[in-house]
Amino acid sequence: MPKTAIQASGLVKWFGEGEARTTALKDVALEAQFGEMVYIVGPSGSGKTTLLSVLTGILKPNAGTVLLEGVDIWGLSADQLADFRLAKIGFVFQDYHLFPRLTTAENVAIPLILRDNDWGESIREAEKYLDIVGLKTRAQLYPVKLSGGEQQRVAIARAIVDQPDILIMDEPTASLDGDTGVAILSFVRKNVLNQDRCILVVTHDDRIYEFATRILNMEDGRLKGSEKSSA
């Protein structure tokens, strides 16, 4: 029986006060299991990014609870929450956010380094993950020498190098051409998703929908039902 990775209910999040108040999340509930690759899709301004931030402990909701692997993350202190994110969640950002002055291997090793692992060992481990994403020969290059698709793979390697249980991908194909985007998500589905990992993808790129195990529609701050389930 699949275990629950993410369990959120009653999520409400608004910005501003009085007449300027905008409600980004309106009583959102979501559940995702390990082994699932869940897409949250919807138009710009529908609340996808806000939801992602609330689910990962980055943005505190005004109401509602978020349980990640059974832990109520908004009941944790700031330091505990930071430690939890570092240990359990991997992030692939829309713009990658790779450090241009660090080599590819050093960029990938960052989560390990942040967890006080030895520098040399972290780099060696990072090189293994670069091998997994097919960039072993690029380990000593700086990100500026890599193509967009390669940078995205580096970002993925960085996100999974510490073997997180939950992987968050924010608009992973926004900066890529169509073929590369499809190739990247195909790779993630085949090589990164497993029964001990849950992947949450925010996107509005319908060319990569085929790789989702489930797609949730977000509209005007509300999650609509599952559009597709292939888990």
């Binding site: 980055i58 570092l86 829309q94 002055r101």
Partner: protein
């Protein structure tokens, strides 16, 4: 090095353009600060050269004396009175004054003449040529072999000159710890000969040099001298008084302060601005690190490490550059008045710490303000 600090180090030094600009700014600022304060220290040391070279622990003088080179003559009874004071082991007179020497080629040269107590020769210099007892010989003078020595046409034992229509003969050459400030050669002779050869006002004792029975007697000696209407100052107090005169009454201190402040402001603005730009360029990545799970205090540690590393490297380079320049200058001008003291180093270090703190303050505030949510929003 801890991983997170090595990460900070690599982020800093791998951005070679910014790191170089930061280093250059701080190095230049430290160099200027150190150089200005070193010059001032050098000048101060040279200004107190007579006090240092004579080495007496207590100096009795007229209350109006502000620097050792501007003595005011005291009557002979002061010497007798000091000798009879409680706590005084012994006291001797010292003459210190200027004179004009006519050289063999007919040229005139200003000199400083030090007249030592005839009986004890207290405060005599180390001789490198000749015998000290020859100072008692007819017209005997000892010349100091320092950077100004050549102005007396490189005299040797037996060289003659004319001083106020009196014949002078060099009977020895000596070395001293510090040469004078005003670029004048120094001649040592006996007190009696000095006041005999050099035209003087009625009172001829420039200073009474006192050896106390013990350091504990100094306060009591001071009180007794003050009751007499004069002042007794320790060697250190006299040097400090000379220093204060140059700092507060000549504009030298103000100039040094202005130069040091300007160097500090230049350093702070260059490094502060460059460091802040460096942080701004990496702001989103710092935000990404926050999102990944880096604690704010770890980000602060990274920034402080980067600022401290740059500041300390710049400090080392700046001090090194200053030492090199002083060394090169002293090769050419042996009495070049610049000296690095622990005090200068401490002042420079303190200002560099302020530069590092100032540079990192704005950066830390900026990094702490960034929300990881902004990173998701792009």
């Amino acid at each position: 090095m801890k991983g997170i600090l090595k990460l900070a180090y690599k982020l800093l030094v791998n951005d070679q353009a910014k790191f170089s600009a930061l280093l250059l700014g701080i190095t230049f600022a430290v160099f200027l600060m150190m150089f200005v304060t070193s010059m001032f220290s050098g000048v101060m040391t040279h200004a107190s050269s007579t006090v240092i070279n004579i080495g007496a622990p207590v100096w009795v003088m007229d209350p109006t004396v502000e620097t050792v080179s501007n003595s005011v003559g005291m009557p002979d009874y002061v010497l007798d009175a000091v000798r009879s004071m409680q706590g005084v082991k012994y006291a001797v007179p010292l003459y210190s004054g200027g004179a004009l020497v006519k050289l063999a080629d007919g040229n005139y040269q200003s000199v400083t003449v030090i007249g030592l107590d005839d009986t004890s020769l207290y405060g005599r210099p180390d001789l490198v040529e000749g015998k000290i007892q020859d100072i008692y010989a007819e017209n005997g003078f000892i010349v100091v072999r320092d950077a100004e020595f050549a102005k007396l046409e490189n005299p040797h034992v037996g060289s003659q000159f004319e001083l106020n229509d009196h014949r002078g003969v060099i009977v020895g050459t000596a070395r001293v710890a510090t040469s004078g400030l005003y670029g004048l050669p120094t001649l040592y002779t006996t007190y009696e000969r000095a006041i005999q050869y050099i035209p003087n006002p009625r009172y001829t004792i420039s200073y009474v040099l006192v050896e106390p029975k013990s350091p504990n007697d100094i306060p009591r000696i001071k009180q007794q001298v003050e009751a007499l209407g004069y002042r007794a100052r320790t060697k250190e107090e006299f040097m400090k008084r000379t220093e204060d005169f140059f700092i507060y009454k000549t504009g030298g201190g103000t100039n040094m302060l202005i130069m040091t402040l300007m160097s500090f402001i230049v350093g702070l603005s260059i490094s502060g601005q460059t460091f802040y730009t460096f942080i701004l360029e990496n702001l989103e990545r710092f935000g990404a690190l926050k999102a990944i799970g880096t604690k704010s205090r770890d980000l602060i540690r990274m920034i402080l490490f980067q600022a401290s590393f740059t500041a300390l490297s710049g400090y080392g380079l700046g001090v090194g550059l200053c030492v090199l320049l002083i060394y090169l200058a002293k090769l050419r001008l042996p009495s070049y008045a610049a000296m690095l003291t622990f005090g200068n180093l401490a002042i420079g270090f303190g200002l560099v710490v302020v530069i590092a703190a100032g540079s990192s303050y704005a950066a830390v505030r900026r990094v702490l303000r960034i929300e990881p949510f902004d990173i998701f929003r792009g």
